[in-house]
Every structure is written in C-alpha cells, then in structure tokens.
Amino acid sequence: MNAVLFASDLPYWLQSIFRVLGGLVAVLLPAGTVVYLFLFKMLSFMQSRLGPMEAGPYGSMQLFAEVGKWLQKEDIVPANAQPEARIFKMAPLIVLASTFLLVVVVPFGPDALFTDFETGIFYALAVSSISVLGILIAGWASANKYSLLGGLRAAGQLVAYELPMVLAVIGVVIQAGTMNLQQIVVAQNTGSMFGWDGIGNPYVLTQFVAFIIFMISVQAELSQTPFDMPIAESELVSGYMTEYSGFRFLIFFIGEFATAGVFAMIASILFLGGWGVPFAWFGWTTIDSVDNWMNFAGPLILFAKMMALVFFIMWIRFSSPRLREDQLQRFAWKVLIPISLVNIMLTAVLKVAF
C-alpha cells in the first residue's frame, strides 16, 4: 500500500492512542451532527418552528449546552434500586461499549481503518447484540415495573429484528464472497454491470430487497419510531430509561444516536460502496493501487453517505405512528424473515448461475 496514514512504523502505544482517539471521533462526531441537524433542526422544520436559535449561530452550540446541563445533574439511584446500585450504574456503559466495539471494524479509507478483521460484518452483528444485555439489566435493576416492561420489550424486539438483519446481510456476503468489510467495499467499487464500470456495482441495486430489510431492521434495532415500543412514552413513561438521570441518561442518549450513525455507516459500506468511488474513474484496479488522498477523502465520502441514510431513518422516525407490540413481532417473523430467506436463495442461485 501507499504511504500510510497511521504509519505502521509508529510505536505500538502511539498507534493505540491514535486508534482510541479515532474511535472517539468516529462515534461522537456523527452522533453530535445527527442530533443537531436532525433531532434539533429537521424535526423543528417539519413542525413549522425554528428549533434552538439562541446558543451560537442558528443554535449550533445548543448541543454543548445540553451536554453541560446533563453533566451537572445529580446521578440518582432510586431507593428501591439501591441493592443493585452497581448493576444499575453499569447498564448504560454496556450499551455505549457495544457502539464503540461496533465502530472498530468500519473501514474509512484504503488504509484508514482500525483493524482489518476477516469476519468484519459477522463481528459487527455479534457485538451489536451486546447492547441488549445492557438494556435488559437497565430495565431490571431500576426496580420499577415500567422499566422492566420496557427492558423486556426491547429485548424481544431486538432479538426478533436481529434475524432479518443477519439474513439480509447474508445476501451481500454471498455476492461479495467475503465477510471482510474492506473487501466488500472493494468488490463493489471494482465491480461492473454488464461490462460497464461507470458506477461500479453498488449492492443497493442488485440487493435492493436486502437493503430495504436491513434498513427496516436498523430502525427497529435502534428502537426508533415506528418501532419504539420499548420507550413508548404514552404507556411506559420512558421504558428502561425511566429511572436514569444525569450523565447516565446522556450515555443512553449518545448511545442511541451514535449507534444510528454507526449502523448507517455499516449500511453504506454494505450497499452503497462505503468510502470508495468507482475505481475505474481514476484507473485503479485493486486496493493497493488506490491513491493516498483517498485516506482523507474516504472518511468524508463515507460520512456523506451515512448522513443520507440517517436522514431517511430520522424522516421515518418523525413522521410515523407507533406499531402495536404484536404487530411489531408479527411483521418481523412473518414478513421480513421469509422475504429475506427467499432473497438468500435467489442470490445463491444467481451467484452460481453467473
């Protein structure tokens, strides 16, 4: 490869520091941008109001004001939850840890990556399910029936929607012939459709069904409306988050939007070509011949694709009513899973045929 961004001749400890800082940026920057642009501004415009305008130009500093507000609030453990105070305090950290583990395999450029994991997408799906543990014990340790109900609903929903998500990804894995996210990006950008390589072969075209199923499952995994049964505020106060205050609530909040960002990154890697541009544009043939400037342009391209996908997630979130619990389960088991199974079969047959 070309001159490396995180040069491998740096000492190990320095590389590690770079990786940790990079991970923080890769998780917190999308989360902050998503919250300001979509939650503060887009939602306000959709409701014919201006949203935050006072803090900074167009309210752009509002986010820091909010974070400051949450950080100075008292860290309360409810009286009934005192015997489980340690678990109660640990739960939000598990949810956030799952997000950080998730970003580890996301490639941002030909050399700009944390680790080149061979089973990348499989790993991502596996660690994303760790957040269920955090949500379950948050609901349980709150010693509150609304929280417990919210936690149980979240677990049922996340387990149900993880299946169609995995099955949708299998279509992409079959077509790319690898589970390594970096190689999936390369496979899409070096691909061609009927001999024409002008836009590569983004899998959103060939795997459109899988893309739709994946995005619906992401919506459900993040418990965004119309799948927000676990925190349904008209029934369960705020579900598993009810008893949390101060920075632990903030961590749940960051976790939600950071995971939205990371999942959108993974979706754009799987279906939209990730950090790459079609290699034919610049005469590249393999990953090794990609020019070094892609290490700087790549993250921006990925970020743009991610924002486009998060826009759709938030658009649906702000404009849909909530599903009922039984409808939600029926939709996963009786609609999404059969469709994704058929998709896998079709993909496998076509892969062998061509």
């Binding site: 489980e84 349980w140 589970m179």
Partner: protein, 170 residues
C-alpha cells in the same frame, strides 16, 4: 527451551483471562441472585471468546459472542426477568442436591483431562502455525462434515417445532 519460543504476551493474556473466567465461574454458583449468576456467566462466556481470539480463531470467537452472549444469555435473562427475578439476595437458591454435583464435576474434569492428555500428549501448537480462514472453516463444514451438520440442523429443527407445539394454546 529458547526464550524466543515462549510467547510472553499470549501467555500473560491467557493467564489474566483464565483467572477472570475461574472467578466468574465460581461466582455463578455462589452468588445469591439469579440475575447476578447470569451476568457472571456472561463474563465466563466472554472470557472463552477472548481465549479463542488469542488462538487466532476469529470466526469461532465471533460465533461465541453472537450465539452465547447475544442470544442464549439474553434469553436466559429474558426468561428469569419475566418470571421471578427479584432485586437483592434470595434465600432458597441452594438445594441439598448440590453435594451430588461435586463428584460429578470431578468425574467430568478427570474425563476431560484424560481425553485431552491422551489425544495430544506432548504435542504443541507451533507459534507460526498457518491461520485458518473463515473460508476454510466453511469448506470443512459444508464439505467433509456436511452430514453431521445436517443431522445437527434437524435436531435444532425438532427442538424449534417442539417449542412451537408446546407454546400453542389451540
């Protein structure tokens, strides 16, 4: 033995994870709360996944996390929370049959030690053994071991159908 033969970092990592796993396993059986026991079991299972990573068995490690932590433990917790998980210590968690478990545990340990010792003797995994890629694993499963794999899937299918039959009310 030459000093270069000893993989110091790996051995230190193995020791740390092993100690954590043993402590976790002991806490699973000694803790006074069902949910705490389940969470300690998560520690043990995550430790097993970490050991697989030390052995460079990526695919197995990820499968361990996906299946055991992501699915089995979530179902455990889901089940206990839906039925009886109270906050704080519980009294009647230990039953008197615990004594019988001790000889069985010793017997199992002895069987495993003898089997492993018999199977591998003084054989050592060389430090530069070739890495087994996911592709090789899948070629094995869907090649030589296809029939056992099918048999296993049928067992799971039977279990799933059985669960549905039991859960249906009509």
């Amino acid at each position: 033995m030459l000093a270069s033969d000893v993989l110091v970092a790996q051995n230190v990592g193995f020791a740390i994870i092993a100690v954590i796993m043993v402590i976790g396993a002991l806490r699973v059986v000694t803790t006074k709360n069902v949910v705490h026991a389940a969470l300690w079991l998560v520690v043990v299972l995550a430790g097993a996944a970490a050991q697989y990573i030390l052995l460079a068995a990526e695919f197995l490690a990820v499968t361990q996390v996906m299946v055991y932590i992501g699915a089995v433990m979530v179902l455990f917790l889901f089940g206990t929370m839906l039925t009886r998980a109270q906050i704080g210590a519980e009294k009647d968690l230990n039953n008197k049959n615990g004594i019988i478990g001790l000889p069985i545990a010793v017997l199992l340990l002895a069987t495993m030690l003898i089997a492993l010792n018999d199977g591998f003797k003084a054989e050592k995994l060389s430090a530069d053994a070739p890495l087994v890629s996911t592709q090789q694993v899948s070629d094995q499963i869907f090649g030589i071991y296809l029939l056992p794999f099918w048999a296993l899937s049928f067992v799971l299918l039977a279990a799933a159908i059985g669960a549905i039959v039991l859960a249906r009310r009509d």
